[in-house]
């Protein structure tokens, strides 16, 4: 069963017409001879004409989900909350072009044809794919789609350079920040200099030596942030660990303006020490301290973490990873 689920924050179809597929071999049904039929397929199948009605923001979010999660609409997905003739829940795949029509008042009617399958089995109610509250798309996708990021379970996207996130009720999107300064996320300061990507290193250049990274946002100070990391408690915990796998990019919104960010490997044994230049090494229990200017009014972090490498940057060892943290401005506070 597919692990991709329809976003719970988006409305389902406003209109659905289901045509059961004819899985029979028929003879004599033109009327002349006595008719007969036999079944050809066991799996249930149907086609459906779907019509959604979205606000502009919902349409943008749906379209990003369609492009990124479904791979331009190609993947199967579960929609446990859609009504179907056989009860609640369908497993579906879009099979036709997406037709968008303006319905007035800023609404859009989105029509698309789909194939439905597996009615005999309840669709899997997939757990969120990531432990972060937001998602995460591959770095390659980020490069492809620029600032448009999506979360499957809590969703952040931008519409005309205005960032939105799911509201507290989970019913709609709300404005996260106003237009981005210059259209780009803002680099933090490390020590006294602007900071780009930083390499985190495990205690030794051996397989899987670098553990999971944690992010503490607006910690009281270095000591408090270090204590939380040592206890394995961070505001957000990285997806990446081990010696193989992909990197990710994620948007992490925060309720208050972000001015201080600490990043380090969780649960290290020694005394956590801030290092303001060069690599961040677990051999010396080092961690990273980043600051944003109060005037930037940072309302979310854009975090990009690379796949596991060794110290020299060769993929697949798991003793090092590159990490880059930037801020998304909410405009003038």
């Amino acid at each position: 069963m597919t692990a991709i689920t329809y976003p719970i924050t988006l409305p389902g179809p406003a209109d659905i017409a289901v045509q059961d597929a004819d899985r029979r071999a028929m003879a004599g049904m033109d009327g002349a001879a006595p008719g007969s039929a036999r079944a050809l397929e066991l799996d249930r199948r149907a086609t459906a004409q779907l019509r959604f009605r979205f606000t502009a923001v919902q349409w943008s979010a749906w379209h990003v989900w369609w492009r990124l999660a479904l791979g331009d609409g190609g993947a199967w997905f579960s929609a446990p909350n859609w009504a179907a003739p056989w009860g609640m829940g369908v497993v579906a795949q879009f099979t036709g072009p997406v037709e968008v029509a303006h319905a007035g008042r800023g609404l859009r009617d989105v029509s698309v044809q789909a194939e439905l399958r597996g009615a005999s089995e309840a669709p899997a109610r997939a757990e969120p794919r990531v432990p972060l509250s937001l998602v995460a798309v591959d770095s390659a996708d980020l490069a492809d789609y620029g600032a448009e990021l999506v979360a499957m379970t809590g969703l952040v996207t931008d519409v005309d350079d205005v960032w939105h996130r799911v509201n507290a009720a989970g019913t709609d999107l709300e404005v996260l920040g106003t237009a981005l300064a210059g259209g780009s996320p803002i680099n933090p300061t490390r020590g006294s200099l602007p900071c780009g990507a930083v390499q985190f290193r495990g205690a030794a250049d051996t397989t899987g030596s670098l553990g999971r990274l944690g992010i503490v946002i607006n910690g009281d100070n270095n000591t408090a942030a270090a204590a939380r990391m040592a206890a394995g408690l961070a505001d957000r915990i990285s997806l990446v660990t081990g010696s193989s796998g992909a990197g990710y990019a994620a948007v992490l919104p925060w309720a208050q303006p972000i001015e201080l960010v600490h990043v380090g490997q969780l649960s290290m044994g020694g005394t956590y020490t801030v290092v303001d230049e060069g690599d961040v090494s677990a051999a010396a229990s080092e961690f990273l301290r980043l600051t944003f200017d109060e005037s930037d009014n940072i309302v979310a972090l854009l975090v990009e973490e690379g796949p596991p490498t060794n110290y020299a940057g060769t993929p697949g060892t798991g003793s090092a990873r590159m990490l880059r943290v930037r801020g998304i401005s909410g405009g003038d506070a």
Binding site: A17, D20, A21, D22, G35, P85, W86
Partner: protein, 134 residues
């Protein structure tokens, strides 16, 4: 013609026949012969007809009907005794097959959606005023 023993779920309403949407079929065919032109021969003992029908079903009724088509009718391959509500309100039982698989159109309403179910039945023989076995 005896009605099939398979009957529609009792919880499902009767099919409503569209009074003007039916097709009467000829029980005759052009039968090729060894020598000479094909000749018209009777190939069925009684006339048949296609009938366009629909029903308005609640979510539960739609679920029961869908399960019945899949399980009892074996994905729509078996004949069944159809309850058809004629235009004058009388109920008839017909020997029927699904000529087309049902189409389900969600109908907005209060609470759970209702379904407009439409299909085309292939009817054989003559209608009966009584249920099979009655």
């Amino acid at each position: 013609m005896a009605l099939p023993s398979i009957t529609m779920p009792t919880t499902v309403p009767d099919w409503r026949a569209e009074p003007h949407d039916f097709t009467v079929l000829l029980p005759l065919a052009q039968v090729p012969v060894v020598v000479g032109a094909p000749r018209r021969r009777r190939v069925a003992t009684s006339g048949q007809r296609f009938l366009v029908v629909d029903m308005l079903a609640t979510a539960d009724q739609a679920q029961a009907l869908h399960a019945w088509v899949e399980a009892d009718l074996e994905a729509g391959t078996l004949p069944f005794a159809a309850r058809v509500l004629a235009d004058d309100g009388t109920r008839h039982w017909w020997h029927a097959r699904l000529a087309e698989m049902p189409q389900w159109q969600a109908v907005a309403g209060r609470g759970a959606p209702m379904w407009q179910v439409s299909t085309r039945l292939r009817l054989e023989g003559e209608p009966s005023a009584t249920a099979p076995g009655a």
